[in-house]
């Protein structure tokens, strides 16, 4: 069971970590969904036609990152609103992938490839024998382990390096960076591009796991990742936890479908709804915490 949870949580984790960088830089990145979709499509298209997973991954990450870089630069350079630009990316992703699918594969629905390379599962030697942690380290794709690694790496980057400091400063007071001679726009573009990279990975993991590309393969994961950032208190380890919890909830929902035959559309509602409740609980607790702090003065 833990195994499935880990599989489910990986896209959330990847997208969430990337989004954390942009969030730190003061940009609410609602384009995560679109970027993930672009990544999923590109990765599937290249991997399916070339038969090579690595190439597919590179394509997915590269194109997604390029899209992120473009929308960031265009928005910041033209002084368009970055938020709306992200909405535009989402829309473009939906439309663009359809058009590309039509042009390249003659369909706008499911793209099945004659022979899609299978995703190898790896087990980490020592860690897969530890009883409790076994589920984390046994029989997973490389994507999962990359996601795991990214957690401490992001934490370190954000806390201990100048780059992390710049990102935080960009979010808190970008004018301060400007007066110190740091190009704060470039920091933001970089942060958004990072989210493009991780979303590309997330998307690739989705389509590789499926062995095909279906429209709306991301079905809201980008948005959930966003929420995971907030619920995870904007910290990498927090995001890890929330993604874990969320994946568990989704697994529960899927089992419920299997057992009680709950209809699929209701199922789609479930993750959103439970995140909504989670948000309420979190805010209430947070407010309570603040009030307690004040009382203790």
């Amino acid at each position: 069971m833990l195994h499935s949870i880990v599989e489910i949580m990986t896209p959330f984790l990847l997208a969430g970590l990337g989004g954390l960088f942009t969030e730190g830089a003061g940009v609410l990145n609602i384009g995560l969904e679109g970027l993930m979709l672009i990544g999923a499509f590109s990765a599937a298209a290249v991997a399916g036609t070339s038969g090579n997973l690595l190439m597919g991954t590179v394509a997915g990450v590269g194109i997604s990152a390029a899209a992120a870089y473009l929308y960031a630069t265009a928005a910041l350079r033209l002084k368009a609103n970055i938020f709306i630009a992200a909405l535009a990316v989402n829309l473009l992703a939906i439309g663009g992938t359809q058009i590309a699918a039509h042009l390249l594969f003659g369909t706008k629905g499911v793209i099945e490839f004659t022979s899609f390379p299978s995703l190898p599962s790896i087990s980490i030697p020592l860690l897969s024998s530890i009883p409790v942690l076994k589920g984390f380290f046994t029989d997973h794709s490389l994507f999962v382990y990359i996601a795991f690694l990214l957690v401490p790496i992001s934490a370190w980057l954000l806390k201990a390096t100048p780059f992390g400091m710049y990102i935080k400063a960009a979010g808190l007071n970008s004018t301060a960076l400007f007066t110190r001679g740091i190009a704060e726009q470039r920091i933001k573009v970089l942060a958004i591009t990072i989210s493009g990279i991780t979303c590309g990975l997330a998307g690739a993991s989705l389509s590789f796991n499926l062995g095909a590309y279906v429209p709306n393969i991301t079905s809201g994961r980008g948005w959930i990742a966003l929420v995971a950032i907030f619920l995870g208190y904007k910290r990498p380890y927090g995001i890890f936890l929330v993604a874990l919890l969320f994946a568990a909830a989704e697994l529960a929902a899927q089992s419920a479908q299997g057992i009680a035959g709950a209809p699929s559309s209701l199922l789609l509602a479930f993750p959103f709804f439970i995140t909504f409740i989670g948000m309420i609980i979190f805010s209430a607790l947070h407010a309570l915490l603040l009030r307690l702090q004040e009382k203790n003065r």
């Binding site: 909405l87 535009a88 829309l91 473009l92 439309g95 948005w223 209809p263 709804f273 947070h286 407010a287």
Partner: protein
């Protein structure tokens, strides 16, 4: 509140439209076998005959209401991202209400339905506002989450428990004909709701600029500290903009059912929430610019759909167009306070 340099306003809108049309011109040879004909149906979409014109104007009316919903939210400094769910819920509540009161006289039923739909939308959006007020929950995310849950839930309801067994469509039962709005230009869908939309523009403008509450709402949206300093009761202006916004979205859904679809069909109102945002932005979040903004946007969307139908495939190209328009329209103006708070 809107940009005091009209030249750049119209310039960026003009650029957006030009780019959209250019995109179509570029894409068509790739996508269509008869690009000229397709382009023709794109550009001349609504003008080809009264049927198209009627449907065009009908949609303009509905989009005006959606745009107004977002304008009020934005002016109040709130970001209502739950439009999709609020419209859909408005449509469903209208349908369910009218189906459950078959004995009511026509006009009374209509008024009742409008109230029910507005109330539904207001409650949903208002909840996000309340959460923000009490616990500083980000209303953007909470409204989006709630709305997405609702959309899928209503999808399920309409294709399941509430489904009309006699129809092939995934739809609820239809409302009685006495509740339906008079059609102005049959066989098109154009109905009285267009007039309602125009009326609402006037009401919206009056509220925002000619009432105390509107002044309070706008000042709070622009600078919370300023409003607090002046003695404006800012706490209630987390809830009020959201509730008004949700209520308007609900009305849009209601009028859609009353005048166009006469039932709640799965996915029928899809897109109205997002488009409301786009139109509000094109209108520089000023009510008096809603009519031209809605016309421009609907023209593009309409054209894209017609072109696609003619060229015999139904794409999400409309989505691409919308993206281009959205993006370019926001280019070059340094953003409204509320958008700035959320992003850059």
């Amino acid at each position: 509140m809107h940009d005091t340099r009209p030249a750049s306003t119209f310039l960026s809108i003009g650029v957006a439209i030009a780019a959209a049309i250019l995109a179509m011109i570029v894409a068509l040879p790739l996508l269509s076998n008869s690009p000229v004909q397709t382009l023709y149906s794109f550009l001349m979409g609504p003008f080809r005959n009264w049927f198209y014109m009627g449907n065009f104007l009908n949609r303009v009316g509905l989009y005006i209401i959606a745009g107004l919903a977002m304008i009020i939210a934005f002016q109040g400094g709130m970001f209502n991202l739950g439009g999709e769910g609020q419209v859909y819920a408005g449509a469903l509540s209208t349908t369910m209400f009218l189906l459950s009161v078959p004995k009511l006289i026509g006009p009374v039923g209509v008024i009742g339905a409008v109230c029910v739909a507005a109330g539904t939308g207001a409650l949903i959006a208002g909840l996000s506002g309340l959460l923000k007020m009490k616990w500083n929950t980000d209303e953007l995310i909470s409204s989006f989450l709630l709305s997405s849950s609702l959309v899928y839930t209503i999808d399920y309801l309409v294709s399941g428990p509430l489904r009309n067994s006699e129809s092939f469509l995934l739809s609820s039962s239809e409302i009685a004909s006495k509740f339906r709005l008079p059609q102005l230009l049959p066989p098109s869908h154009l109905n009285l709701s267009l007039l309602a939309a125009l009326l609402l523009i006037g009401l919206g403008y009056k509220y925002l600029f000619h009432t105390s509450s509107g002044y309070e709402l706008r000042m709070t949206g622009l600078n919370r500290e300023f409003a607090r300093y002046g003695g404006i009761p800012i706490q209630r202006y987390y809830f009020i903009p959201m509730a008004l916004s949700g209520g308007l979205y609900g009305i849009a859904g209601c009028l859609y059912v009353l005048g166009t679809s006469f039932a709640t069909m799965q996915g029928s109102t899809s897109g109205m929430g997002w488009n409301g945002i786009a139109i509000a932005l094109i209108a520089r979040i000023h009510p008096l610019l809603l009519l031209p903004a809605a016309i421009i946007f609907t023209y593009l969307e309409f054209g894209a759909e017609n072109a696609m139908i003619y060229a015999d495939f139904s794409f999400e190209f409309g989505a691409v167009l919308q993206a281009i328009v959205l993006f370019l329209v926001t280019a070059r103006f340094s953003g409204f306070r509320v958008l700035r708070k959320k992003g850059i």
